[in-house]
C-alpha cells in the first residue's frame, strides 16, 4: 500500500492571484490568496460560474495568472521550464471521465501516465497491481474503458492518476455526472485518500453533502474567497451558507427536524448512522 503514496503532500500557495479568460474582461478569479499545507484535504464549493474550476486550472498551470503567483511546493506556475515539475506533483481529475480516458483497455489506461513518466516496465506493473487492488478494478483490467459505467470510468481515471503518485490530487466535480452508485464509489475513495497525511487533496464540488469529505472547506463566490473554515463551521448558524446559494447537507436538515421532536442530535454534519443513533438513544432515554 505504501507504494501508491506520494512521499510527501504538496504545499500550495495562491498569492493575490487575478485571472480573466479574456484579458481585460471580468476576472474569473480575483485577488485570491490562500495557503494549503501538505496533506490537507480541502473541499472547494461555490455557485456555478464562481471560479472554482479556474482555481484548479491555475494550480495545474493550464492557465496562468495575469496578476499574482501560484506556487506548488514553491515552484511558480509561470516558470515554463519547471512545468513538468508542477504537472508531476498535481494530478487532475475532470468532471467527465470520457474527457480523460484514451486507451483501449483499463490496464493500458492506467499504464499510460506512468509510461509518460518514463517508469520501468516492472515498476509500472507493480503500481498497476497496487491501484487495481486498492480501487477494486481487478475484474475490469482487460475491458475497454468506453464500455464501463460512469462510476467505473471515473474510478479508472482516478486510478490512472493515483498510479503516477502525485503529491496533490485535484478533482473537478468528479461525481456530478454519476449516478448514486458511482458517487458512493468515488466517495469511499476520496475518504481514504483524504485521510493520507502524505497527499494533499483539492476537491471542487457543487454538492453540499460532499463538503464533509474534507477537513477544510473553502467557498469561492464571484472569483473571491469568501469562506475558509471547517465544514461544520460553514453550515453552522442560519443563513451563512445560504447566502452563497449553498443548501445545508440533507442530513443536517433532518437533524434539525429530529431536534424539534425532542431528540438530542450532536451539532455538526451528521451521517445517517449518527441520526439513527440519536433516535435510538432517545428511545432508551424515555424507556428508563
Amino acid at each position: 500500500m505504501n507504494g501508491s503514496r506520494a512521499s510527501q503532500g504538496a504545499t500550495i500557495r495562491f498569492d493575490r492571484v487575478t485571472f480573466a479568460y479574456t484579458p481585460g474582461g471580468r476576472p474569473a478569479v480575483s485577488d485570491l490568496s490562500l495557503e494549503i499545507r501538505p496533506g490537507e484535504s480541502v473541499v472547494i464549493v461555490g455557485p456555478s460560474g464562481s471560479g472554482k474550476s479556474t482555481v484548479l486550472k491555475l494550480l495545474d498551470a493550464l492557465v496562468l495568472p495575469q496578476e499574482g503567483h501560484v506556487l506548488v511546493d514553491g515552484i511558480d506556475t509561470r516558470d515554463q521550464e519547471r512545468l513538468w515539475d508542477i504537472r508531476r506533483r498535481v494530478g487532475l481529475i475532470f468532471q467527465n471521465p470520457d474527457n480523460q480516458l484514451v486507451s483501449t483497455t483499463v490496464e493500458r489506461e492506467i499504464a499510460f501516465g506512468m509510461e509518460n513518466l518514463g517508469l520501468q516496465r516492472s515498476e509500472i506493473a507493480r503500481r498497476i497491481e497496487e491501484v487495481t487492488e486498492r480501487l477494486g478494478l481487478g475484474k475490469l483490467l482487460s475491458r475497454p474503458p468506453h464500455k464501463l459505467s460512469g462510476g467505473e470510468k471515473q474510478r479508472v481515471a482516478v486510478a490512472a492518476v493515483l498510479a503516477m503518485r502525485p503529491a496533490c490530487l485535484a478533482l473537478d466535480e468528479p461525481t456530478s455526472l454519476l449516478d448514486w452508485q458511482g458517487r458512493r464509489e468515488i466517495w469511499s475513495i476520496l475518504r481514504a485518500v483524504g485521510d493520507e497525511p502524505s497527499r494533499t487533496v483539492l476537491h471542487v464540488t457543487q454538492f453540499p453533502d460532499e463538503v464533509a469529505l474534507g477537513s477544510r472547506a473553502l467557498v469561492i463566490a464571484g472569483g473571491e474567497l469568501v469562506f475558509d473554515g471547517t465544514p461544520t463551521e460553514l453550515f453552522a448558524g442560519a443563513g451563512r451558507a445560504a447566502r452563497w446559494g449553498l443548501r445545508s447537507p440533507a442530513t443536517m436538515t433532518v437533524a434539525e427536524s429530529l431536534r424539534g421532536a425532542g431528540y438530542s442530535v450532536p451539532e455538526g454534519i451528521p451521517s445517517l448512522e449518527d441520526l439513527v443513533d440519536a433516535v435510538a438513544r432517545g428511545a432508551e432515554g424515555r424507556a428508563t
Partner: protein, 282 residues
C-alpha cells in the same frame, strides 16, 4: 389543446422497443410496457442506467415508434386524431447542447415559428416561456446564447419547449449537473407546469422526485417494475438500493429506525413530515 383537454391521455400498451432488430447485438430496450400519462400532475420515471427510461420518454413523445405494441393519444374514450408528436414536448438531457440560433429570443422562437404562428403570437409565447422558466424576458431575449451561465442555458433550453404549449411536457434528467440555485428554479417550474399540463420526468435525483412527483414508475431492464404513489415507492428503501438508487435521507432514516428502534418510527415519521408541512407553508 382543444375541447375537454382534461381527459387527454397518452397510453402505451404492451410496448416493446428493440434496437438493431435482426442484427447481432440486437437489444430490447423496452419489454411489454403498459403506461398511462394523464394531462395533469407529475409522473417520475426512475431506474438504473440502461433501464429504458429515455426510450420510454421518446415513445411517449411520439418520436420513436414501438417495435411491437401500441401507443396512442386519447380524448376521453375516443382516440384523438391529432398526432402524438404535436401533443408532447420533450426536453432531452443537457438540452443546452442543442442551441443553434444566436440569441435567446431566436432560439426559443424557433419552435413556435415552425408551427406557422404569426410573429406577434411567437413573441408573446417567447416572453411567456422565458417568464415561466425564471428568466426575465427583458433581460434575456436579446442575450447571445454563448454568454449565458450553465444554469441560464438550461432554463433557456427548457423555455424553447415550453413555447410549444403542448399538453404534455416530458423531461430527461432536467436537473443533471445543475447548481443548487438553478435546481430550485427547475423544481418550481416542474411544480407549476404540472398544474397546467401532464409532466413526466426521468431522474436519478430521488430528492427531486419526492418533491415534485405524485406518482413514480420504477423501471428495470426495460420493464416497469413498480408503478405507485411516490411516497410508497420511496419507502421501499431496500428495493431502491438494490437497483443502485439513493432514497432521500428522510426515507433512509425512517427505514433504519423501523429496524433499530421500531417504537420510535411513528414519532420520527411525524417529525419529518411536520417539518415538510411547515416548509411548504413558509
Amino acid at each position: 389543446m382543444t375541447k375537454r383537454s382534461s381527459e387527454l391521455t397518452i397510453t402505451l400498451e404492451g410496448v416493446d422497443v428493440e434496437f438493431g432488430s435482426g442484427f447481432p447485438g440486437a437489444h430490447l430496450a423496452l419489454r411489454g410496457v403498459d403506461l398511462t400519462l394523464e394531462v395533469a400532475g407529475c409522473l417520475a420515471v426512475i431506474g438504473p442506467t440502461g433501464a429504458g427510461k429515455t426510450t420510454l420518454l421518446e415513445v411517449a413523445a411520439g418520436l420513436l415508434a414501438p417495435t411491437r405494441g401500441d401507443v396512442r393519444l386519447s380524448m376521453g374514450d375516443s382516440v384523438s386524431d391529432s398526432p402524438l408528436r404535436s401533443s408532447a414536448g420533450l426536453v432531452y438531457q443537457f438540452p443546452e447542447l442543442q442551441f443553434f440560433e444566436d440569441t435567446v429570443y431566436e432560439d426559443v422562437a424557433f419552435g413556435p415559428r415552425r408551427m406557422g404562428l404569426d410573429e406577434s403570437e411567437v413573441s408573446a409565447r417567447v416572453a411567456d416561456a422565458l417568464e415561466r422558466s425564471g428568466l426575465s424576458p427583458d433581460a434575456f431575449e436579446g442575450r447571445d446564447l454563448t454568454t449565458l451561465s450553465a444554469g441560464e442555458k438550461r432554463r433557456a433550453a427548457i423555455a424553447g419547449i415550453l413555447a410549444l404549449e403542448r399538453p404534455f411536457l416530458l423531461l430527461d434528467e432536467p436537473t443533471a449537473g445543475l447548481d443548487p440555485a438553478t435546481r430550485e428554479c427547475v423544481v418550481d417550474l416542474l411544480l407549476s407546469e404540472s398544474e397546467a399540463r401532464g409532466v413526466a420526468l426521468v431522474s436519478h435525483d430521488l430528492e427531486l422526485v419526492d418533491r415534485v412527483a405524485t406518482r413514480t414508475v420504477v423501471m428495470n431492464e426495460g420493464s416497469i417494475a413498480v408503478d405507485d404513489e411516490t411516497s410508497r415507492v420511496l419507502s421501499d428503501v431496500a428495493g431502491l438500493e438494490a437497483l443502485g438508487l439513493a432514497p432521500p435521507v428522510e426515507y433512509a432514516l425512517l427505514s433504519l429506525v423501523r429496524e433499530r428502534a421500531p417504537a420510535e418510527a411513528r414519532r420520527v415519521r411525524r417529525a419529518l413530515f411536520d417539518a415538510r408541512v411547515a416548509d411548504a407553508n413558509t
